[in-house]
């Protein structure tokens, strides 16, 4: 049994799940405690090995490979749990003809499948069997029966494991890493949808980090009012000193995001990221634009514009500035961080640099995030070069990881 479990763990690792030795030992202990009835075995292993629910389908797929329903088992399994047969048939039907063929071949080549294990088979480690038998007590016969089933399954499983690389299921961790490093330009709509969750998680982490930084910054001068207030609880003796934060307060955030086709994915993810962190800021205002400006909010990970926004228009940054300046100049101040995401491709329309200078004069900090590779900046209709000198930083962000770190550094 131990060998089969180790094989199972190895298979999970090969598919990208991280399973530590400690977790493997937990799994062995869990199986010894819970027994090997198929569904209980499945849950016992899942409880100890699957630490992220997104990995559950991958786990189930691997479970079906290493612990397949063997024929004799099928009727028993069906009796025990009614949902069972449907489950197996669906898992057999899912991954395509090659795998099904291989499985068929093996069970077909087998009168061996129902005969006792061949002489070449390694003997089951005795101490594991004994320990498990002890813990199982009266149900010992069932145990040995199950071991026989498992052993029968081994050759089948080996073949499937080797061919299994074709299975499409990847672990949640691997998928997340892939999304973080995926260039915005190459993202499909479904990638963006998945990446929204990742962006929101990044935003939540950012928010936690900012809040912590603020707490730790309370090391400055004595805050007399709060100290005296706390001292009333201890009879006027100031047992605990309260201190003031060193740097004043939280910044205001203003974000301007270009939603036109070429950079839409990046903008959407930035908005998701900021939405998760927005309540930390003293005030957070987010705008999207193509050729007109529109205040937006994010709900359920979807960008919701407050007015109408023509996504197919040609982007016009000058006109957006002309919209922004008279109406929203009030939100800018010395404590404002202005984040702009866009490629500054203005379609040869007037860039209105004068307005940009006016905004610069009122704003504490301006960071421009460019989701375009640096060599392409200022080529064609890009007017980034006109705006860049007024910015505190212009950062190239080609993927989600770069975007998140740029926002972190900007704060």
């Amino acid at each position: 049994m131990r060998d089969v479990l180790l094989r199972f763990v190895r298979l999970l690792r090969r598919r990208g799940m991280s399973v530590s030795p400690a977790e493997t030992m937990d799994a062995l202990a869990a199986v010894a405690a819970a027994g090997v009835e198929r569904e209980v075995l499945r849950e016992a292993l899942a409880t100890t090995l699957v630490k992220d629910e997104h990995d559950r389908p991958l786990f189930d797929a691997c479970f079906e490979i290493v612990f397949p329903l063997v024929r004799g088992d099928e009727s028993r399994g069906a009796r025990r749990k009614r949902g069972q047969p449907g489950q197996t048939s669906s898992s057999q039907g899912e991954p395509g003809p090659s795998r099904q063929g291989r499985r068929g071949e093996h069970s077909g080549s087998g009168p061996g499948a129902s005969s006792p294990p061949g002489p070449g088979e390694p003997p089951e480690p005795r101490e594991g069997q004994e320990r498990a038998q002890r813990s199982l007590g009266a149900s010992a016969p069932r145990w040995s029966e199950a071991v026989r089933d498992l052993r029968r399954a081994v050759p089948q499983a080996t073949a499937l494991e080797q061919g299994g690389a074709a299975t499409q299921v990847t672990s949640a961790r691997a998928r997340k890493a892939a999304l973080l490093g995926m260039p915005f330009a190459g993202m499909t709509a479904s990638d963006v949808a998945e990446a929204r969750d990742v962006a929101a998680a990044l935003g939540a982490r950012l928010r936690g980090r900012l809040a912590r930084r603020e707490r730790l910054a309370r090391r400055g001068r004595l805050d007399l009012r709060r100290t005296l207030r706390a001292a009333t609880g201890t009879g006027g003796v100031p047992l605990r000193l309260r201190r003031r934060a060193r740097c004043p307060g939280r910044p205001d955030l203003v974000a301007l995001c270009d939603l036109s086709g070429s950079v839409a994915a990046a903008s959407e993810l930035l908005l998701c990221l900021l939405a998760a962190a927005h309540d930390w800021f003293r005030r957070a205002t987010t705008f999207a634009f193509v050729d007109r400006l529109c205040p937006v909010s994010v709900e359920h990970g979807h960008v919701v514009p407050a007015g109408s926004l023509d996504l197919h228009a040609r982007s016009d940054f000058g006109r957006v500035l002309a919209d922004f300046w008279p109406a929203f100049a009030g939100v800018l101040g010395s404590r404002t961080l202005l984040l702009v995401l866009g490629d500054a491709r203005n379609n040869r329309r007037p860039p209105r640099r004068d307005l940009w200078q006016a905004i610069r004069a009122r704003t504490g900090r301006i960071v421009w995030l460019v989701p375009e590779p640096r060599p392409r900046w200022n080529t064609g209709d890009s007017v980034l070069g006109l705006y860049a000198p007024a910015c505190d930083a212009v950062v190239e962000c080609l993927d989600l990881a770069a975007l998140a770190s740029a926002v972190r550094r900007a704060l």
């Binding site: 977790e23 937990d26 209980v40 849950e43 409880t47 100890t48 992220d52 939540a204 936690g208 912590r212």
Partner: protein, 292 residues
């Protein structure tokens, strides 16, 4: 009590907690392997209830530690009772005692305010420790918690090391508002608690709302199942299902129809946008839930 899967199942039934084999297995393993159990899942799916049910199953006390941002050791583990210490110091001074004996007195168990973690460690019998919404606490606290959970002992500089005589059963819950550290995940058993299927939910309603018509319970559960498939700002939890069922009972309603659902929707949905969105779809929702 010897712990087997059967006793766990019986215990859960006795505690009136309706559940799946998945949850049963996880609880059984938590008790047998003596490892912390991390329950994750949507809000209101019954995670916190797990701790309470475990306490009832073991006939023991439940200690609850509610996590929040900025939770620190003094709130979770222990704190000296400054006020009391101060009083003692003043009294001793009036009686003319020296500092040496005062100091000895003042830093004793009597002046220690035990918070849930320390209470769980010093408890005279096995207790259930419920660490609720661990995802709300800061990563530092998580690391600190790991240290306590790994060997169940705490060092207090003035008192020495306190070790648990009975290892508490630990249940952690999380809504996944942030990702937990790998180290914590590695040390815990993991359980995903999801909303129950319509059959289970009907059972729960029938059990928790005495006097409800069986048919109405089924209808309610089916409606909830299709409601949860919609994209809502706040998905209604089991508690809300029960509130609704109780409300329907109080109104003396025997079968659900579109009009009654519309009237009582405010029991289920807490956001005006949600209410408006569902209001428009009530008939289809009722239809789809009746059809299955």
């Amino acid at each position: 009590m010897e712990i087997t899967r059967e006793t766990v199942r019986e215990g859960l039934r006795a505690a009136r907690y309706i559940t799946t084999p998945r949850v049963e297995t996880a609880l059984f393993l938590t008790l047998v392997l003596e490892k912390p159990l991390l329950a994750e899942g949507p809000a209101g799916a019954g995670k916190t209830e797990l701790g309470k049910v475990l306490a009832e199953l073991l006939h023991t006390d439940l200690l609850r530690l509610q996590c929040y941002e900025g939770l620190d050791e003094s709130r979770a583990l222990f704190e000296w009772n400054y006020q009391k210490q101060l009083l003692r110091i003043q009294a001793e001074r009036a009686a003319g005692h020296g500092w040496a004996e005062t100091a000895h007195d003042v830093f004793s168990r009597e002046f220690l305010l035990e918070r849930p973690l320390l209470k769980a460690i010093t408890a005279p019998r096995k207790v259930v420790l419920l660490v609720d919404e661990i995802d709300k606490a800061d990563p530092e606290f998580e690391a600190f918690l790991l240290e306590v959970l790994s060997d169940f002992q705490v060092s207090i500089p003035e008192l020495g090391t306190l070790t648990a005589t009975h290892r508490p059963v630990v249940v952690l819950t999380s809504n996944r508002t942030r990702e937990l550290g790998e180290a914590l995940l590695r040390r815990c058993l993991h359980l995903w608690v999801d909303f129950p299927g319509p059959e289970k939910e009907a059972e729960i309603v029938a059990l928790k709302v005495p006097g409800i018509d069986e048919q109405l319970a089924t209808q309610v559960a089916r409606f909830m199942a299709s409601l949860r498939k919609l994209e809502l700002r706040k998905v209604p939890s089991i508690a809300e299902t029960l509130d609704w069922a109780r409300g329907l009972c109080a109104l003396g309603i025997a079968t659900l129809d579109a009009a009654t659902v519309r009237q009582t929707l405010s029991l289920l949905l807490k956001h005006e946008d949600d209410r408006r969105a569902v209001d428009a779809k009530v008939t289809t929702l009722l239809g789809s839930s009746a059809g299955r």
